[in-house]
């Protein structure tokens, strides 16, 4: 499987480590509120088991150590989009 790194071009998936769904970026920020335990339960344990396009986090461990958001079809393994997780996270209003 080839992942087309936005900065470095096509790289073998052997250079990467897989983490999981991009939802992991969206960690609840309401930890001081009562409602937070339910939100953290959802964040920590509840996963969609998607058959189709899945946005997921990959880490370029044997490369530039960047985190990527890869859109991969879980049935065909076709990769349709690769973004820097940094950009995705900023677009979500997180981080600096």
């Amino acid at each position: 499987m080839i992942i087309n790194h936005p900065l470095l071009g096509p790289r073998d998936s052997e250079e990467f480590v897989y983490l999981g769904s991009t939802d992991l970026i969206d960690r609840p920020t309401n930890w001081e509120e009562d409602a937070s335990s339910e939100d953290f339960y959802q964040y920590q344990y509840i996963r969609d088991n998607i058959a189709g396009n899945h946005r997921e986090l990959w880490y370029h461990e044997q490369g530039d150590q960047s985190w990527l958001v890869v859109t991969r079809n879980t049935i065909t393994h076709e990769i349709t989009n690769v973004e820097l997780a940094q950009d995705v996270s900023r677009a979500m209003g997180r981080g600096k």
Binding site: L7, L8, G9, R11, D12, E14, E15, Q62, G63, D64, Q65, S66
Partner: protein, 189 residues
């Protein structure tokens, strides 16, 4: 005060092997210093080192050379460059800091890497067997630099001449890398 005097040793004790059409040798006269660029200051850092050394910051996976060609900059990440340069003193960090005269963060990495040069007309054939990225001369022209994995070892590869490549691995992997190259040489020749 102790009476001990510590002397520096290169990672591979200056290993040097000649084969028919390819030479494998340790690079012992180069230093490597990481220059981390604070966010939003790339243009400032670039104009400072352009002024002091005539160096511009290279594009991703490319390199630039100073006007006296003693310093080469590599770009492998957005927010930092690696300076690869000839120096045989004991404090390459301060040396580069004063040469560059730029507001960036300098970290000496010279002794944490084993540097191996593979050169000669058969060098590409030898490296093709272990390097997963495309090193075709047109795709990977002289001056290209990249970080990848060879024989499960994280490696930086830099093309410093037509038939010459420098491989950098973590110092502790130096011997394994040397072995991997030698096996590849035997397979090719």
């Amino acid at each position: 005060m102790s009476d001990y005097i510590l002397e520096k040793e290169s990672a591979l004790e200056g290993a040097e092997h000649e084969f028919n059409g390819v030479n494998v040798s340790e690079v012992t006269d180069k230093s490597l210093v990481m220059v981390a660029i604070p966010r939003g200051t790339l243009a400032d850092v670039e104009s400072a080192i352009k002024k002091s050394c005539g160096l511009s910051i290279p594009k991703m996976e490319q390199s630039t050379e100073s006007s006296d060609s003693s310093i080469t900059l590599w770009r492998l990440q957005n927010s930092q460059v690696l300076a690869y340069f000839s120096y045989d003193g004991d404090d390459s960090e301060s040396y580069l800091k004063s040469k560059f005269n730029a507001s960036a963060y300098f970290t000496d990495q010279s002794d944490t890497w084993a540097m191996i040069r593979v050169n000669g007309p058969k060098s590409r054939e030898v490296l093709e067997r272990i390097c997963p990225i495309n090193i075709d001369p047109e795709v990977f022209p002289v001056g290209s630099v990249s970080r990848t994995v060879m024989e499960h070892i994280g490696t930086i590869i830099f093309r410093d001449g037509d038939d010459s490549y420098v491989l950098l691995t973590m110092r502790s992997f130096g011997r394994s890398m040397l072995h991997a190259i030698e096996v590849s040489v035997k397979n090719v020749l």
